[in-house]
């Protein structure tokens, strides 16, 4: 699979960006870190908007920047779609003219994404003839995303596109962003300092701190790792599973999800069978049982698991890293650990009390 390679070592008056990024060009890669960690600057470097004297960047097989030979493609020559924190729509054009601004500027044979598609995904058909100042913040940001998509970019850079929106608008826009890469297959680099957005969107995360990359991995690897989970906030400890809806049981008000051959029950979903659903299972919602798999229990979601690692948290609690075909974390007391007597390699049953669905992951 083709990859994105980027090395930047840039000193700014107040801050030093020093990153060496290597990620596959697929799905959504989140650049996550606290405010001031350099996320936006890194994104601007990727776009060629910042002077990076020693910069190097390779997109698949194309070199976009190699300062050793004095090469740095200007942004307008890079096949990038960029959505800024503010919508930056052109006030002298209406919505349609904004959408078509980039579309008209790319060669006809490179137009893979057409206006009907974008209008449909972003639900902006009723806005096309409107003036920019008549749009709400969420509508403006949707048009900005659409405008970027219509350049048929090979890489979409999103800089906290939800930051200026209220929580309701955020929830409205998130599904659109998910659909973007599912339906249009454009790799996305998504900058955010909001863990909720990362949990819902990211396939892989690059953790940025004080201008340096401190960790890169899949969301689940980082969420379940001792080294990095602190970056996400202690109450977020747990695992994220990407599942598919495989069945509905309306008589019980339940839907069935599948991942790695395992099944989970969740409250009845409105989405159709086959739809992708991401769930988040917090460590504190997982308890462990040793014994037969058919032991009766009121808990619906019981999964066989292998103990991989036991981590000391404090004098009363421990965390157990499990393998259920994907990583899962259980938070239990030290007393329970002693009672169960489990050690790495043991088979146990994970009782999952709550499965948080994608849209329920909110602040």
């Amino acid at each position: 699979m083709s990859r994105l390679l980027a090395c930047f070592d840039v000193r700014f008056p107040t801050f030093h960006l020093n990153v060496d990024l290597d990620v596959p060009l697929s799905g959504i890669t989140a650049i996550f870190g606290p405010s001031g960690s350099g996320k936006t600057t890194l994104l601007r470097c990727l776009a060629g908007l910042e002077q990076a004297p020693n910069g190097f960047m390779r997109f698949g097989n194309d070199i976009w920047q190699d300062e050793k030979i004095g090469l740095s493609l200007p942004l307008y020559k890079r096949p990038i779609g960029y959505v800024f924190q503010e919508p930056r729509l052109f006030p002298h054009y209406n919505v349609r003219a904004n959408l078509l601004y980039g579309y008209k500027r790319i060669p006809v044979d490179e137009r893979r994404i057409v206006i009907e598609q974008v209008v449909d995904i972003l639900d902006i058909g009723h806005l096309l003839e409107r003036h920019i100042h008549k749009l709400s913040g969420g509508e403006q940001q949707r048009v900005a995303i659409g405008r970027a998509l219509l350049t048929s970019p090979k890489l979409l850079l999103l800089d906290e596109p939800l930051a200026s929106l209220d929580i309701q608008r955020k929830q409205e826009l998130l599904p659109f962003i998910l659909r973007l890469h599912q339906e249009l297959a454009v790799p996305v680099i998504y900058v955010s300092h909001a863990i909720t957005e990362i949990l819902q969107l990211a396939d892989r995360v690059a953790l940025l701190k004080d201008g340096r990359l401190v960790g890169v991995g899949t969301l689940n690897e980082l969420l379940t790792s001792v080294t990095y989970r602190g970056s996400f906030g202690s109450h977020r400890i747990g695992a994220v599973l990407d599942t598919q809806i495989v069945g509905h049981e309306p008589q019980y008000g339940l839907s069935q999800l599948e991942f790695s051959g395992r099944r989970l029950f969740v409250p009845l979903q409105s989405s159709a069978i086959g739809q992708a659903v991401r769930v988040h299972i917090l460590a504190n919602d997982v308890s462990l049982v040793i014994g037969k798999s058919n032991a009766p229990t009121s808990v619906l979601n019981v999964l066989e698991a292998t103990v991989q690692e036991i981590r000391e948290i404090d004098h009363s609690s421990v965390e157990v890293l499990l393998d259920i075909g994907a990583p899962l974390v259980a938070g239990i007391t030290r007393k329970s650990l002693v009672t169960l007597g489990i050690k790495p390699g043991d088979r146990v049953f994970a009782h999952i009390k709550t499965v948080a669905l994608n849209e329920e992951i909110i602040d």
């Binding site: 776009a47 800024f84 052109f90 002298h92 601004y101 500027r105 970027a148 350049t151």
Partner: protein
């Protein structure tokens, strides 16, 4: 207008021609300069800004004197042209460009500062080259600045007197403009004609400023 003679009408024509050409030259020269002033972080910026603003505070005779020297057969501009540009229409255009520069640069600079770089970056991200982005995004956003610049530059050139007298010498049909015509009418006690032209200039100037203030409330207009 009935009191205007043929000579007065030719002075009006010279004034309009001079103001039009001056504004066109200033828009071509002033756009990149104003853009640079609006966005540069160079230490030279205040020096250039002060130099551009000089004609606002300098007595027109001082400016006129130096331009006269420069345009003369031994001045730098005269050397380039291989002849004396003093007392010619071309010389007058050169003088007017300097004299009216702040009135074109300042509204453009304010407009570019107000527009910022954000729309430009957005345009680049949509495959617009630098020139394309400037023409299709920045100039429409800065349109009011351009209207101010054009109107003020034109009106200010129409109204110049001291510099014209120093550099142009009021040669009929060549360098005699409306403002110098009034002076000459008064000198020979032709008050009726002086009245007519003065009233015209007064009305013209007021209407121009009125138009600017009505159409343009966003960008500050620096009129000394």
């Amino acid at each position: 207008m009935g009191a205007l003679t043929e000579l007065d009408l030719s002075a009006l024509w010279v004034s309009v021609r001079l103001a039009t050409i001056t504004v066109i030259v200033l828009l071509i020269v002033g756009t990149p300069l104003a853009w640079w002033l609006a966005h540069t972080r160079s230490r030279l910026r205040p020096i250039v800004e002060a130099a551009v603003a000089l004609p606002i505070v300098l007595p027109p005779t001082v400016l006129g004197f130096y331009i006269l020297i420069a345009l003369g057969p031994y001045g730098p501009l005269g050397q380039i042209a291989h002849l004396s540009l003093a007392f010619t229409f071309t010389g007058l255009v050169i003088a007017s460009v300097f004299y009216s520069m702040p009135f074109v640069i300042q509204p453009l600079q304010s407009a570019f500062e107000a527009a910022g770089k954000a729309p430009l970056e957005a345009a680049w991200s949509l495959r617009a080259s630098k020139l394309d982005a400037f023409l299709t995004v920045i100039s429409p956003i800065a349109l009011r600045g351009y209207i101010s610049a054009i109107v003020l530059g034109f009106a200010h050139t129409m109204g110049e007197f001291g510099v014209v007298l120093m550099v142009g010498g009021s040669i009929p049909g060549e360098t005699r403009v409306l403002s110098t015509t009034i002076f000459e009418h008064v000198e020979v006690m032709e008050y009726a004609q002086a009245h007519a032209i003065s009233a015209f200039m007064l009305t013209f100037s007021f209407l121009v400023l009125l138009a600017v203030y009505i159409t343009n409330r966003r960008f500050p207009i620096h009129v000394s």
